[in-house]
Subunit: 274 residues, 2 copies
């Protein structure tokens, strides 16, 4: 097989298997070609992935070695993407009762959701995440997008226990915004004890829901390695109870009465500059 | 830029933009190369996409022409994938009360969900779908996977009306399995009138939920062009009220008492042979 053909097939394969260690013999067998040719292919791919701003190939040497595709989104493209997102959200007609923001249209776009996933994966790829956790419903697509780039499974907690899922672990938490006691459940067999977890959600005000997920994870002896929220919003009445999070978007000065809003970049970029 | 470099970048771009008409000048400008070179690149890519079983490139000639990537999953790979899925689901310990099946582990795997999306997109790509509709919660990842390959947005109906979404359209429907009257809502501004819609869900018994989505879509003057369900299960007490669907998996002979189950391929393959 010619190099040009091989590169197309390998690009497709590698992009679909981020963070996975792929041995060189896998490709030499797949394309019936010498190891030296595959090595050259991978050098070209590494250079071109960086040129396209989608990451790079990490080489692991030794007998058990190979390459891993690290999804690392170009900084300039990331800023441009978040700026565009902020501009789209910065629209008073999106203001909903309670200081929330209508984002379903944007969260319904697979391409936008994928880019959000790519950004969080860029930040969280070094953390050896085992699983992505979210709570139904709005965070689900974002959780899958992040999990796709981290190449790990998604686990979904629910606010309403379904009887159809077998035994569950349940916790109560205080919703920061409404001060109501709510419960959250996770099916026992959906998460292994001692996992390293990344929490993803679409929106955070005081952080009660995120804090609920953290409590739930304690019951599974899990480590929370990262918390990613698409949008954080100011909450006038409460102090934030979650502080160790990464946000792409920050919504401030929501004025329901005068239909005013201010949407800016979240703490994602200030964190990654450190 | 060399052909080898270009092919990597173009493969990435085209795979992320299925069914989208991409003009040749887009690539000639992006890679600063003659149209004839891009044409040759696309011929190589078309051949290699088919070789890898991930689809082909359709050429549209004329001034407004270009190419479109048609995601068409290889028949043999599709059968192998569904066989593996059926084998994994064919496990009596998955039986849940009410004749349901525990599938959350499988639905939590981004790679499995992507392949399911690829299969449905293969069947539905010719139907000019505008939007994918599902109802919260379990169908959401599948809906996004299908929508990603069809390159269209996802719209999510809910069983519990949220006040935070603006004006909604609501319908009542009879759940086929429980015979209870339930309601389903869709935010008014989430779906344009007259859209061509593909309904996706994870599980179907009598079809009450799917039928509810169809009723909801009538209120938006939408056309239901396709219905895809991952798994269909027999329902002893009811006759099926939805018949025009495509299923990947068929679950029969669920015997809760004796812990027996039989999982086979759905009607997907018998339909595509026609």
């Amino acid at each position: 097989m010619k190099r040009s053909d091989r590169l197309i097939g390998m690009t497709n394969y590698i992009l679909e298997h981020p963070l996975e260690l792929i041995s060189l013999p896998f490709f030499t067998e797949r394309y019936q070609v010498a190891k030296s040719s595959i090595s050259e292919d991978l050098t070209i791919m590494d250079r071109m992935f960086q040129h396209e701003g989608i990451g790079y190939l990490e080489s692991i040497s030794g007998a058990a070695g190979g390459i891993r595709y690290i999804p690392k989104y170009d900084q300039e493209k990331s800023v441009a993407f978040v700026d565009t997102l902020a501009k789209r959200l910065n629209d008073p007609s999106r203001i909903l009762p309670g200081g929330y923001l209508f984002m379903s249209d944007i969260l319904g776009e697979p391409e936008t959701v994928r880019e959000i996933g790519r950004l969080f994966a860029t930040a969280f790829a070094p953390l050896n995440i085992d699983v992505v956790l979210t709570v139904a419903t709005k965070g689900i697509p974002l959780a899958y997008a992040v999990a796709t780039f981290l190449n790990v499974p998604v686990v979904i907690a629910r606010r309403d226990p379904k009887i159809t899922e077998g035994s569950t672990v349940s916790i109560n938490y205080v919703s920061g915004s409404s001060r109501k006691i709510q419960s959250m459940v996770l099916t026992r067999r959906s998460l292994e004890q001692g996992s390293t977890v990344c929490i993803i959600d679409d929106f955070m005000k005081a952080g009660g829901t995120i804090d609920g997920m953290k409590s739930l994870l304690k019951e599974f002896d899990a480590t929370v390695a990262a918390i990613g929220v698409l949008a954080e919003a100011e909450d006038e009445e409460d102090e934030r109870i979650v502080t160790d999070y990464t946000s792409l978007i920050q919504i401030s000065a929501v004025d329901e009465k005068n239909k005013q809003i201010e949407v800016v970049k979240g703490n994602y970029f200030s964190q990654s500059e450190q």
